[in-house]
Structures are given as C-alpha cells and as structure tokens.
C-alpha cells in the first residue's frame, strides 16, 4: 500500500514536470509523455524509497512555502557572504570539518536538510552517517557537536520536523 502511494506520487510529480516543460495539451505530446513516464516509473521506481516518505496534509501544504521562504533568505545571505569573502584581498577564511547531530529520521528529510545546509552561508555537507552530518564550514565558530548543531542546522530543523517527520 505504502509502495503504491509512493508510486502514484512519483507519477504525479513526473507528469507535472512534463506538462510544465512542454507547455501544451496536444494529443501527441500527452501520448509520448504518458508512455515515457510510465516506463521511467516502472524501471526506476524500485531504486528510490524517497517518495514513500511524502505525506500530504493541510499543515504540510502550509509549511512548504514557509520553508521555501526561509531557504531563499538563507540562499541570498549565503551568496553575499561568500562573495564578500572572495572579493576581500586577505581572503578571510577559517575552514574546517565539524560534525552535527540531527533528530530527523526519514531519508527525505535528511536529504532536504543536507541540501539546505549546502546552500546556506559557508557550509557544505561532506558526508552523512546515520544521525551525524559532517559539514565543511568556511568559518568555524564552534568545534564541538552542540554549538555547531545550534549554529548550522537548528533554523531548518524546526520547520522540517513539522513537514516531513
């Protein structure tokens, strides 16, 4: 049952992508799109268990735009931060790899968290091992797990917990 639900969500996402990319409802386009997306779904669905973690409730629909807003803000901040470091002649970096702990369990939420960390100010996910994420940090502010977790991931985790857990 859970597998079927994941399969259907996969189909819907793929169909939406196809429709948005082609931008028409002509018969030929729909036919080709339909055939290829069923083929892709059947062939590759077994390799991915990400879609099985997706749940859709009103609360989640409310939280996705909020997450997107937080994420966009952090992305712009990240860019200005890195750009300033690059421009300065002294190249003010203080890099290192730190470990942080996450309370998120599902693979989908960990993926979103890792991606968000990569795109936010000065941090890059190097490896994920169970509940530990190894982060390359361009300007290390805390070497131990607690302070690093607080600085890097807490702002995303609060919202992600509401969405995907």
């Amino acid at each position: 049952m859970k597998k079927l639900k994941g399969f259907i969500i996969f189909l819907i996402v793929a169909a939406l992508t196809w429709l948005l990319l082609t931008g028409t409802f002509s018969r030929d386009e729909l036919l080709v799109g339909g055939i290829s997306l069923v083929l892709i779904a059947v062939l590759f669905y077994g390799y991915s268990d990400l879609y099985r973690g997706i749940k859709i409730t009103p609360k989640i629909i409310l939280f996705y735009p909020l997450y997107l807003l937080v994420f966009l803000k952090e992305l712009i901040k990240a860019n200005i931060d890195v750009a300033l470091r690059v421009i300065k002649p002294s190249l003010p970096i203080n890099p290192g790899i730190v470990a942080i702990k996450t309370e998120l369990k599902s693979p989908l939420s960990k993926l979103i968290l890792a991606n968000s960390i990569t795109l936010t100010p000065g941090t890059l996910t190097v490896d994920v091992k169970d509940d530990t994420l190894f982060i390359h940090w361009i300007d290390v502010k805390g070497k131990d797990v607690e302070s690093a977790t607080k600085e890097i991931s807490s702002r995303f985790e609060k919202i992600l917990k509401e969405i995907v857990e």
């Binding site: 990319l21 203080n94 790899i97």
Partner: protein, 109 residues
C-alpha cells in the same frame, strides 16, 4: 518586464563571475566547492529567471529549470566533497578542525 529581466540577468552574471573568481582564489577543494556551488546556483537561478522574464512564453519552463538546478546542484557538490574526502584530499593548512578525519582514524566511519 524587460527591465526586471535585465536586472535579474545582471545580478546572475555578477554572481557567476564572483563564483568563478572564488574558484580561482580559494585554497583547497572544499573551499572551492563552497564558492562554486553557492554562487553558481544563485547565479544560474537569477540568469534563467531573467531570461524567463524577458521572454514570458519561456517563464514556466525557466521556473522548472531553476527548481531542477536548486535540487541537483547541492547534491553534486556534496558528492564531490565526499569523494575527495574519502580519497584523502587534504584540507588547507590553516584549517581549524577535521572531525570527519578523526573518526576515520578511530574506525567509526
């Protein structure tokens, strides 16, 4: 709409330029990835959106392309970082801490 598109394209190319400058100036793989990923994601996003604004028939497609870039770009850079770390590419000398390496020595990772 044209002015908006032009502004987006200008911002995009500025960030792409800064990203490439960052790849030149940063001292090791990981720092280069930092500059590369962030600046190119934002730069490409802004550039493609700008093209979408200039040619409104293309706007929906450009938004889909932006979504793909946002989803895939961080994954690829994480993968490169992970691969370099596993194959032992060293961090630059002035690095402060490398928890990951300590764990490898202890046999935990």
């Amino acid at each position: 709409m044209t002015i908006l598109g032009d502004i987006f394209i200008l911002i995009g190319s500025l960030f792409l330029f800064l990203g490439s400058l960052g790849i030149f100036r940063m001292p090791d793989v990981y720092n280069r990835l930092q500059a590369g990923t962030k600046a190119t994601t934002m730069g490409a996003m802004s550039l493609i959106l700008g093209v979408g604004f200039l040619n409104t028939g293309f706007l929906v497609k450009s938004i889909v392309i932006v979504l793909f870039i946002v989803l895939t770009n961080p994954i690829s850079s994480s993968t490169i970082a992970r691969a370099s770390h596993k194959s032992g590419v060293p961090l630059v000398k002035k690095s402060v801490v490398d928890v990951c390496k300590d764990n490898v020595k202890k046999g935990e990772v």
